[in-house]
Amino acid sequence: MRTTHHQKVSRHGITNAAITTLAIATLAIQCHAADVSSEPVKIGSKTFTESVILGEIAAAMIESTGTRAIHRAEFGGTQILFQALKTDEIDLYPEYTGTITHEIFAGQNLKSLDDIDAALAKQNIKMTRPLGFNNTYALGMTRQRSSELGINTISDLKNHPDLRFGFSNEFLDRDDGWPALKKSYNLPQLNVAGLEHALAYRALQSGALDVMDLYTTDAEIAYYDLHALTDDRDHFPEYYAVYLYRTDLETRDSQAVTAISRLATTIDNPTMTALNARAKLDRVPEAIVANDFLNQTLDIEANRAVESRTAQIWRNTKEHLFLVSTSTFAAILVAIPIGVIASKRRKLGQALLAIVGILQTIPSLALLVLLMPILAAIGLRSVGDTPAIIALFVYSLLPIVRNTHAGLVGIPAPLRESADALGLSPMATLFQIELPLAARSILAGVKIAAVVNVGFATLGALIAAGGYGQPILTGIRLNDHTLILQGAIPAAMLAILTQTTFDILERFIVPAAPHK
């Protein structure tokens, strides 16, 4: 009889693959679990440098009281952090009063700090007094360009309708951002683009943009010699920095709350700008910036450790492996049975294949965001590992289901009939004949899912799941190519390693027949 190479499959194939995957997953879970042993204070921060510095300062203050603090730097945007605070994923994070009034409680028209306190109290959240500086929005131009055109105030922009504006995406959307600004100043400009804040500075410098949004404590304002235009109609609200923390932190660790409350009124605008400049322009690690600040201003012996590059890579590797292995393993457990059912029932099979196919087409970011409220509603963690793993799991289904289905349907009819004619039970036929014959195809599906997952898991960093995406995001924020490569190179290597591992695995599961 004719046999293709594809069909030489060991009957232990499936089991081997499953055991190996299980082993990897267990290892990853163990590595991961080691990170959270005691009951430390968990701090989050936003994805820009100032927030990371404030997170480090809070961590250092809390550690000076003897409590362990974990700072999950660059955890996410406002919505993700506030959600995480509510769901106990973190205990505290730095926020701005303007963001609280105009974004978190948009439309509630909160005026004073007391109003904010009252609104937060309903969510079991408290707020420290302002740290001192007001990091509000401003519009900025290069000094050369503004003096050339004689522009000093935002009102002056009205006479120059052809100017090119470039704003951060958040500024374009928020209710005190561009739409409101345009209205209150009656600005005529139509050439308005959305782009990453860090990139806008370079676009302004190169002359590709005329006007951008600034944060008033940005270190780059001095560095690039920018002119922050006067907000002559007092459009922008005040953005005083505060820490938001869970009310239950007061009972759990009152010392921690006392420690961060001491930071009120200790950081004025020039100080914050200087701290930002040290971290961003001088590339001093945020932990050192925080240590030095506390040492000099509050005379506190702060010892936030800077994670070594090796430690960072190792941590990111563990996080990444955890995301990829758990999601792939879960997908194997679910997708193979779906593939089997799809191959046995033709109508149902087509429906199942269509469903997993549709899931695959949901854009990855949309899926992550869509998952958040669903997970919160069913009481699961809406940020971090859980949504990332679920998203990766969803994307892994299609290749495994499709390849399982194709592998089973592709078994030559004479073999299928020989199994039937023997009078084996359907289960015996499935496990002893069909699955081994389809093993090569199934394994190829698992391989595709795993390799794609390695790349896709880098997006997990957007929702605080860690992994190799984290240094990539930080690298973009700091314009630090080394950091970007610190995430990108291991991610690429892991993808190649995964591919190679499966190729080797395939050789054991699908052994080439020895020569006669």
Partner: protein
């Protein structure tokens, strides 16, 4: 009519696929302990008939009985354990060794290891197959060896009926004639009920106690081989016989 001499009986059995009629209403007895050969051109319905008997396909009309009991979805697994089935390319599972292919059903039915090994030795001597072949995968065996392994698998539970669908069709002439001799010896020694499909008249003549000629999904003539030569029921029978005889006429020895 059912009696002790008939193992399988088909009564007015037909099989259609949509508009395509693979087998017209057919009535046929497979006598116990005899070799029945179904012969005819490609697409005449002979394989369909065999596949109906082991219920790989179900009849559109009519009924099939095994020892007088109608085949049903419920009893077919038990009945299949009493039928050995060999197809043209052996139908061996490529991921299993010859040994595992041969013993798969016995292992599934939880026969003891010693019983299995004893039966394996018996069959290896009967077919015969060199011992070292047992640990090879089907791809590492010759075509003839594969068919011997397939026969061992079919005979493993000592079935009451052997169904062979062109078992020698894919073999080259020398191997084929070797295996023909061995097969006939085996059938005679075991006095099994055999139903075999072939398109080769000389092979049919060599094996058949009863020969059944089919054309376009219906039986044209059945009886002993000489009936086809001496008392053709239809001009097609003569045409079929002459065409095959012509192909081997230089020696003419087998006819």
């Amino acid at each position: 009519m059912t009696n002790r001499n008939t193992l399988i009986q088909l009564k007015a059995v037909s099989k259609t696929y949509g508009n395509l009629c693979a087998l017209k209403s057919t009535t046929l007895d497979i006598p116990t302990g005899k070799t029945t050969v179904l012969i005819g051109q490609s697409g005449c319905g002979k394989s369909t008939l065999l596949r109906l008997i082991i219920r790989l396909i179900t009849p559109t009309t009519g009924s099939i009985t095994f020892e007088g009991n109608p085949l049903t979805e419920q009893n077919i697994t038990t009945i299949r354990h009493r039928i050995g089935y060999v197809i043209q390319d052996g139908g061996l599972f490529p991921h299993l060794t010859a040994r595992d292919n041969v013993t798969i059903l016995a292992r599934h039915l939880k026969h003891t290891k010693s019983d299995i090994n004893r039966r394996l030795d018996e069959l290896r001597e009967l077919t015969p197959l060199p011992a070292h072949c047992l640990d090879r995968h089907p791809t590492q065996l010759s075509g003839g060896q594969r068919q011997r392994v397939a026969l061992m698998r079919a005979l493993f539970l000592d079935p009451d009926l052997l169904l062979l669908d062109e078992p020698l069709g894919a073999l080259d002439p020398i191997i084929r004639s070797e295996l023909q001799t061995d097969l006939r010896d085996i059938f005679l020694r075991l006095s099994k009920t055999v139903c075999m499909v072939t398109h080769d008249l000389s092979e049919a003549a060599y094996f058949a106690d009863k020969i059944v000629l089919l054309q376009d999904g219906k039986i044209v003539q059945q009886g002993i081989f000489n009936d086809l030569l001496d008392r053709p029921a239809d001009p097609f029978v003569t045409r079929f016989v002459n065409a095959q005889r012509g192909a081997i006429s230089p020696s003419g020895a087998t006819l």
